[in-house]
């Protein structure tokens, strides 16, 4: 059905209602959601231990930056998409990662994930 079928995608988002929607969007694409993680600590634990094809990360986690999670993912060469209300603000070391401006549509999510994972949408 889609290029994301059975892809394992880490979801880190502190607002659970937004996380639930993102989870539905990813599930609808056929992906398997790892998480959702609501804290940086939990996201980091999943980023270090889970088998992952990509990650969708909220940038500001209740005042705490997502950077440690992003760094752990980059070390494992896991493609990242950032979602933020702050606009396209690069996260340390991951300036090339696509940035989704909140609120985002499913189409925008597909484009960003495709770019990050270097696959045809």
């Amino acid at each position: 059905m889609s290029a994301f079928r059975n892809k394992r995608i880490l979801l880190v988002e502190d607002e659970f209602i937004v996380a639930a929607m993102a989870e539905d969007m990813l599930t609808d694409l056929g992906a398997t959601v790892v998480g959702p993680a609501g804290t940086v600590a939990c996201g980091l634990s999943l980023a270090e231990t889970e088998l992952l094809d990509a990650a969708l990360l909220d940038v500001n986690m209740d005042g705490e930056r997502i950077d440690p999670v992003a760094e752990a993912l980059m070390a494992r060469r896991v493609p990242i998409v950032f979602a933020t209300g702050y606009g396209a603000a690069g996260v340390g070391g991951a300036e090339d990662a696509p940035v989704l401006d909140k609120p985002y549509t499913q189409e925008a999510l597909v484009l960003a994930l495709s770019r990050a994972m270097n696959i045809q949408p």
Binding site: D14, E15, F16, I17, D24, T39, D62, G63, G85, P103
Partner: protein, 476 residues
């Protein structure tokens, strides 16, 4: 009478043109002969042209001679003053003082109020000395216009007292004056600053800026302002508007510069703060839109039809709004769990079927919002299918702290028999997320006698927020 006046005028004209060497003045007992021992032309010219007002009077106040400056001070024509009495131009209250001035041969100086042609008063300082004449009948009076003097002194005082930095440079940028504001900013006393070169006060990395500024001022002949920064004595950074103004001599040549620097650090900080707040506001608005978008999507997904969608959408939006109001009331520093629980129960919070019990605990902003929406789902389900759907049903909501972790318990009793739902609702999904994922416990059971839900929040979801503390954190 007329002939005497004509004679007096002739005498005065002769005096002015330097033709007389002596003057006969009527005294109280007998006429006196006043002789100018030294009516040398250069002296006359000096007195004529000097800026200070000066006059000679007889001991009785008859004005024998005055210079143009004196006439100007009183706003009168000089020829109208010659031969008049000085007393006519001094206010009544100062007449006794004037008599003393005229009687004493030598008077170092007193203040007088003098009246101008227009009736205005001029404060003046009069000093008198006997003119070297044969007898003691003529006084030479020097008049200092205090109104001008006062203005000048006030001008100096304004510069000196200003908290703005104001000082003068010579044409080689050597510091010549140093006001209080300059001392405040730099910590340098006047004695330390005067004589130094302006460039020594500039950070070495910015000296090129000064060179460029001086060039612009020289070329344009006009003041030029720049924004620059300085280190204060205590090492802190000061943002300045720095204005260099050329000072021209009488010949139109540049003789130096004035420096005026205004500290705009506070303004800059306010601008930065405003920029931060605007970005934060934009960020919050976008996050709120994302939340609303999520509520729309999730409500639509689970709705059986438009009516069902509208009902759950409106109720969830309301729950979100209540949580936002609580957080906004506390400057987004956090919220009290009791307020969140009350808000999530909405119209049911005072319902006799509900018991709420727990200590005062503060939640971080995002946790507060997540909990508010989760509890809203539990409450909605209780009203639709659970114990709040019947009159005798009960709900107990309790929480307690244990080792820094917050346990929250929701238990329904005496409702209709419970059957587990076919799929997880939004409330269940959110509560699963709410608990601390790694080692948190969630216990969500659809027991036949009532729904039971118990979950734990980790210490980092709780806030050390106090009502007066402003939020430094945002939502995302």
């Amino acid at each position: 009478m007329r002939s005497r006046l004509e004679a007096a005028e002739q005498t005065l004209r002769a005096m002015r043109s330097g033709e007389v060497d002596a003057l006969v003045v009527d005294g109280p007992q007998r006429p006196h002969v006043c002789t100018f021992k030294s009516t040398v032309e250069p002296y006359r010219l000096l007195i004529e042209q000097m800026a200070q007002a000066a006059l000679t009077v007889s001991r009785h106040g008859l004005i024998l001679y005055c210079n143009e400056s004196f006439a100007r001070l009183l706003g009168r024509r000089r020829d109208s003053l010659l031969g008049a009495r000085l007393q006519e131009h001094v206010v009544d209250g100062d007449q006794a003082k004037l008599d003393e001035l005229l009687q004493n041969g030598y008077e170092p100086g007193r203040e007088f109020a003098m009246r101008t042609q227009d009736g205005d008063l001029v404060e003046a300082y009069l000093s008198s000395s006997p003119l070297a004449v044969e007898d003691d009948e003529v006084r030479c009076i020097a008049v200092t216009d205090l109104s001008q003097q006062e203005l000048r002194l006030r001008h100096v005082a304004v510069v000196e007292a200003s908290h703005d930095v104001i000082y003068a440079l010579d044409e080689n940028l050597s510091i010549q004056t140093w006001n209080h504001g300059a001392e405040l900013l730099t910590g340098l006393a006047p004695v330390e600053a005067i004589g130094r070169s302006e460039s020594e006060l500039w950070p070495s990395s910015r000296v090129a800026e000064l060179t460029d500024l001086v060039r612009q001022v020289r070329e344009s002949g006009r003041p030029v302002s720049i924004d620059t920064v300085r280190r204060r004595e205590d090492g802190s950074r000061a943002d300045l508007i720095y204005t260099l103004t050329p000072i021209m001599g009488r010949d139109g040549q540049l003789t130096g510069y004035s420096v005026v620097a205004h500290d705009i650090t506070d303004r800059k900080q306010n601008e930065e703060r405003l920029g931060f707040l605007t970005a934060e506001l934009d960020h919050r608005a976008k996050n709120l839109l994302a939340s609303v978008q999520a509520i729309v999507a999730l409500s639509a997904r689970n709705a059986s039809g438009l009516e069902d969608f509208l009902g759950s959408f409106k109720a969830r939006l309301q729950a979100l709004a209540v949580a936002h109001t609580l957080l906004s009331d506390h400057n987004w520093g956090g919220a009290l769990i009791r307020d969140i629980v009350d808000g999530a129960l909405g119209g049911f919070k005072d319902d006799s079927r509900i018991r709420i019990e727990g200590e005062s605990v503060e939640l971080r902003p995002v946790t507060a919002q997540n909990l508010a929406l989760s509890l809203h789902e539990l409450a909605t389900n209780a009203v639709k299918y659970g114990s709040l759907s019947v009159p005798r049903g009960r709900v107990e909501i309790a929480w307690w702290l244990n080792d820094g972790r917050l346990t929250i318990e929701w238990s329904e009793r005496d409702g209709p028999p419970v059957t587990p739902p076919k799929r997880h609702g939004l409330g269940s999904r959110m509560i699963q997320q709410l608990v601390a994922e790694k080692d948190g416990q969630v216990d969500y059971r659809f027991d036949p006698h009532g729904v039971y839900c118990r979950f734990e929040l980790s210490p980092d979801m709780l806030s050390s927020w106090t009502p007066n503390q402003e939020s430094q954190t945002g939502m995302a």
